[in-house]
Symmetry: C2
Subunit: 534 residues, 2 copies
C-alpha cells in the first residue's frame, strides 16, 4: 500500500484530520509565533485544540459485504484508511475531521495496482451499485473528495491510485516519461532525478498530491508564467472508465481532431480514473538568477508584470505579493515582485538584467538579486513559507478561526474591479457577523492577457459558527469573481463547492456538452458524483 495504514507515530504517517504528515505539524515555537500574530491581528488570544484522536472516532460500520476474489487483495477497511480517504483538505472537511465526525466515512478503500485492477474495481462498483471516489493524494480544497452523503448511496468506495506508481518508459533523448498516475510529487521527482530530469510542476500541495490528481483537476504549477497548467505538459493519457479504456498516443503535438487529452484533463474523477500519463519533462536547471523588486503600488507592479510577461524574456517565475502577503511571508510590508530565470544549458544573468531594466522603467526598484545559479533570499523565504502554509492553516482551523484561500483569473483590464468586488464581499460578510479578519493577495500566475490573483483570508467568525461563516464567505467571494469577469477557479478545481458557479458560468449548452461526455464515459453515474455537474 502506498499510504501507511498504521495508527502509530511513524516517519511518514499521514494525518487523518489535517494536512500532510503528523510530523509536519507546527512546533510549539511555531504555534506560539502564530498565536501572537493572530492575537495582534484579530484581537483576543486564540487557543489551539488538538483534533479528536483516531482511537476516539466512532465510524459507521462498513457496508462492504463479501468481496469477489479479484478484489479481496485490494480493499482496505481499517479505521485509519477509511478516515484518511473520506475527506479532502478543505476548511469544512478539516473542521469535521478534527471534530471526529466521520459519519459519512467511505465504506472501504480500493488500492488497484494496475489498469486491469482499476477496471475490475469499476466493474465491481457497477454491479454493487457503489459510487467510486478516485483519490490521488487527497489534497482537494474544493470538495473534490468528500463529503459524500452516505445515506444517498448503498456503498461508497474510495479508489486510491497510490499503487499506480510505475515509471514505465523514460526517453532521455526526447525528455518524456510514461508515469503512473498515482505517483505523488516527491516520488515522481525522485524517479526522474537520476536521469537529470524534472517535471517542474510544484503546486503548493506537491508533497501530497498525485500526477493523476493534477491532471484531473488541471493543476497550476509553481512556475507561474505562461505555460504552467499541468495539461500543457501532457503528451498522452490513459483513463479507465466504466465505458472502457481510453488510451491516447504520445506525441509532441497534434492537429488531429479535438484533443482527447484535453477532454479528460479537468474531469475530476467524474469520467473515470486516469491511470497513467506520458509527460513532457525538462532537464534540471543549472543556471539560475532571481531578484526581488519593490513597487510603489499594486497597479504599478501589475503594469510591470504585463510588460515582463509580454517581453518574451520568458521568466521561469514571476509573483507579485501585496503588502500584507509580503509581511506574512516574513518580508517587509511592501508591494514586491519575485522574478526568477533558469535554464539547463545557457546562462541567464543577461535575461535577468534585461528584465530588471524593463521593470525599472515601470517604477520597480531592485531590492536584492542573485545570479550564477543561486536564488534570492526573498525567493527562498517566500518559498519556505509557501510550502509550510497548509500546516499553519491547519493550526488556525484548530484555533476555531476561519482560513480560506480564493483564487481566480481575470484580465489585466478587469482586475481592479474584480479586486474591489472581492474585498467588498469579504468585508460585507465580516461586518454582518461582527467578525474581524484580514486579507492578503498575491498574484500566483501571469499571462499575456491577465493574471491569477490569490487571496488568503483569516478571520475570527464573530457571531457565526465557523462553518456557516465559511459558507457565506465562499459564496460571496465566488460570486464576486464570476460576476466581475473572473474564472470560477484558476487551479483549485471545481469539486462540489464551486459546482453551482461552474454550472452557471458554462451555461446550459456547456452543461449539456459536458453532461453528454459524462453519460458517455459513466452511464450509470458511479464516478465521483456531485463534482462538476449536479
Amino acid at each position: 500500500m502506498a499510504i501507511e495504514a498504521v495508527d502509530t507515530m511513524g516517519a511518514a504517517m499521514r494525518n487523518h484530520a489535517g494536512w500532510g504528515e503528523v510530523e509536519g505539524a507546527l512546533s510549539a515555537a511555531e504555534l506560539e509565533t502564530l498565536t501572537s500574530l493572530l492575537e495582534a491581528a484579530l484581537g483576543g488570544r486564540p487557543s489551539y485544540h488538538h483534533p479528536v484522536p483516531l482511537s476516539s472516532i466512532e465510524m459507521p460500520s462498513s457496508r462492504l459485504g463479501r468481496l469477489p476474489p479479484a478484489l479481496a487483495g485490494m480493499v482496505d477497511g481499517d479505521t485509519f484508511s477509511r478516515a484518511l480517504h473520506s475527506y479532502g483538505r478543505s476548511f469544512p472537511e478539516l473542521v469535521r475531521a478534527r471534530s471526529g465526525d466521520f459519519s459519512d466515512a467511505v465504506d472501504g478503500v480500493l488500492h488497484p495496482a494496475d489498469e486491469t485492477e482499476v477496471a475490475e474495481a469499476l466493474d465491481f462498483a457497477a454491479r454493487a451499485g457503489a459510487v467510486v471516489v478516485p483519490f490521488g493524494g487527497g489534497s482537494s480544497v474544493v470538495g473534490g473528495i468528500g463529503p459524500l452523503h452516505r445515506r444517498d448511496h448503498p456503498l461508497v468506495l474510495a479508489l486510491d491510485t497510490g499503487r499506480l506508481d510505475t515509471v514505465a518508459e523514460l526517453d532521455p533523448i526526447s525528455q518524456t516519461a510514461r508515469l503512473g498516475a498515482g505517483l505523488l510529487g516527491p516520488a515522481l521527482e525522485a524517479a526522474l532525478r537520476p536521469h537529470g530530469l524534472t517535471l517542474r510542476h510544484f503546486p503548493q500541495s506537491f508533497e501530497f498530491s498525485s500526477l493523476g490528481g493534477w491532471i484531473a483537476t488541471r493543476s497550476g504549477g509553481h512556475f507561474a508564467v505562461g505555460t504552467t497548467h499541468i495539461e500543457d505538459f501532457v503528451s498522452a493519457l490513459t483513463m479507465v472508465s466504466p465505458a472502457g479504456v481510453l488510451r491516447t498516443r504520445p506525441l509532441p503535438a497534434s492537429g488531429a481532431g479535438p484533443a482527447l487529452e484535453r477532454i479528460l484533463a479537468g474531469s475530476e474523477g467524474a469520467f473515470g480514473v486516469i491511470t497513467e500519463a506520458t509527460m513532457k519533462l525538462a532537464a534540471r536547471p543549472v543556471y539560475r538568477a532571481s531578484a526581488s523588486v519593490v513597487f510603489p503600488s499594486m497597479a504599478a507592479a501589475l503594469g510591470a508584470l504585463a510588460e515582463l510577461v509580454r517581453s518574451r524574456l520568458n521568466p521561469a517565475n514571476c509573483r507579485v505579493l501585496d503588502e500584507s502577503e509580503s509581511l506574512r511571508s516574513g518580508l517587509g510590508a511592501k508591494v514586491r515582485m519575485l522574478v526568477a530565470f533558469e535554464s539547463p544549458n545557457t546562462p541567464v544573468d543577461a535575461l535577468l538584467s534585461a528584465a530588471l531594466e524593463l521593470l525599472g522603467a515601470e517604477g520597480g526598484i531592485k531590492e536584492a538579486e542573485e545570479g550564477g545559479g543561486g536564488r534570492s533570499g526573498a525567493a527562498d523565504r517566500w518559498r519556505s513559507s509557501f510550502i509550510r502554509a497548509p500546516y499553519f492553516a491547519d493550526a488556525i482551523v484548530g484555533m476555531g478561526l476561519v482560513v480560506e484561500t480564493f483564487e481566480t483569473s481575470v484580465s489585466y483590464a478587469g482586475f481592479p474591479e474584480l479586486d474591489e468586488a472581492a474585498r467588498r464581499a469579504i468585508s460585507r460578510v465580516e461586518r454582518a457577523r461582527g467578525a474581524r479578519g484580514f486579507v492578503s493577495c498575491r498574484v500566483t500566475h501571469a499571462y499575456s492577457d491577465g493574471l491569477a490573483p490569490y487571496y488568503t483570508v483569516i478571520a475570527s467568525p464573530g457571531t457565526a459558527d465557523p462553518l456557516a461563516f465559511w459558507a457565506e464567505l465562499k459564496e460571496a467571494v465566488t460570486e464576486a469573481f464570476v460576476h466581475h469577469g473572473g474564472a470560477v477557479t484558476h487551479h483549485h478545481g471545481v469539486g462540489r463547492y464551486h459546482r453551482p458557479a461552474f454550472e452557471e458560468s458554462i451555461g446550459e449548452a456547456g452543461r449539456a456538452a459536458l453532461g453528454a461526455l459524462r453519460r458517455h464515459f459513466d452511464p450509470q453515474g458511479l464516478m465521483n458524483p456531485g463534482v462538476l455537474l449536479g
Copy 2:
C-alpha cells in the same frame, strides 16, 4: 458578400480552380524558371495547361428550391460561387477543379451575417435534410471542404463564414479581441494593426484562411517554437450547432472542468460553426534579431534544435531546412537553421547571441546575422518562397505532375526511424510506378520533446495516373508516420483524407468519445459529414 462573385478579372478575384487569387498565378518568367528546374530534376520538359475556364464548366442544376424568407438574402447560387465553395485546395481537388469536373458541386452557398443567421441556416438545413459544409477560406488540403458526393445527400450547402467579420471588442490593456470567425488573415491583422496589436498567427494559408477555420482545424502558426497552435491563443469561443449556441467566457486561464474551447478546437465543422472567438493578442514586435546557421548534418541540427528549444531563450522562430529544402528556397544546398528573436519592449540581440553560442557548441556555424529590428536575408528569402509556394504548387499540378506535402510530429528519439520510413515509402511508390520525384524536408515546429517534420514531394507519376499515384503516396506516407510514432497530422487537419488513419490512431474508445460529442452537437448528422469520423 465577402468573396467577389464576379466572373471577370478583378483585383481580388479568387481562383475557382487554384490557390488564392487569379492575379497571384505565376508570371511567365516564374513559370519558365519552374519548368527548367523540374526538367533538370525529373527529366522531360513538363508543359503547363491552363484550367478549364469557368465559362466552359457544366455544373449540375442546383437542387435548392424555394427558400424561406429568412434565408433568401443569404444564399448565393451562381456558378462562380458554387465552384469556389465546392473544393478545398488539396491535390485531388485541384486536379478535378482544373479539369472542369464540378459534377459534385454544392447546390448553393449560405452567407450568414451573424449568429442568428447561422442558426437560421442550420434550422433550414435540418428541415431540408441538407448537409452543411462550413467554409472559411477554403484552403483545406486534407479534404475538409470537399468533395461530398452529391448523390449521397438531397441537398449540399456550403456555409461561408465570410460575413462573420466583426471586431466586436478590443481590449488594448489586456491585449485581447473578440473577433468574427470569418475574418481572413489579412483583414484580421488589418483590424488589429491600428491598435499596435497582432494575432501573430501566420500559417502558409494566411491570406486565404479564416480565424474560425484555423480554430476548427487546430492550425499551426509560422512562429514555430512551443506555443504555436491557434488553440493556445483562444480565450473564448462561440459555436452555433444544431443543438444550440455554446458560448464560453473569455478568461486568461482556467482550471474549471474540461476546457470547452478545447472540445471545439479541431472539430472541423463536424460539431457546428464557430462564429467568433476572443483571442489573446500581442503587441507588434519592435526589436528583432535573426540569423542563419549551417550544420554539418540534419542530426547535428536537430540536436542543436532540441537544446535551443529547451534553453528557455524562447526564440520566436526556429526552422531547420534540409539540403534540398535550402536549395528550393534559393539558399545554398546545406542543412540550415533559421532562428529569430523578437520582442515588443526589450532588445533581443543578447538573446540571439546566447542562442548562437549554444548552437555553436552543437556544431552550428553562423552564416548571417541581423539585429536591431532587421531580419536576416536568408529568413526573408525563405519567407517569400514560403508565401508563394502554393501558387507554384498550382502550376506543378497544371503540368500533370504530382505535388504533395506531408507533415507530422514525432519525438526527437523517434525522428530518425520515422524519417527513414517516410522516405522509404515514397521511394517504394515511385519505384512501383517507374516514377521520378524528389523529396525535401524542413522542420516546421519544435517542442521540448519533439519536432514537426514537413516533407514536400514533387514527382512525375510514371505509369500511373496522377490521382492514383497521389492516393498511393498519401496512404503509404501516412501509414509510415502513424506506424513509426508520428502524428496523423501536425497542423493540416484530419478532413476526409486522414480520417482512416485518425480513426485508427484514437482507437475504439477515442472514436466512441468523439462520436458521443458529435451526436450531442449534431444529432441528425448535418454538419460536414465524412470529416474526423466515418
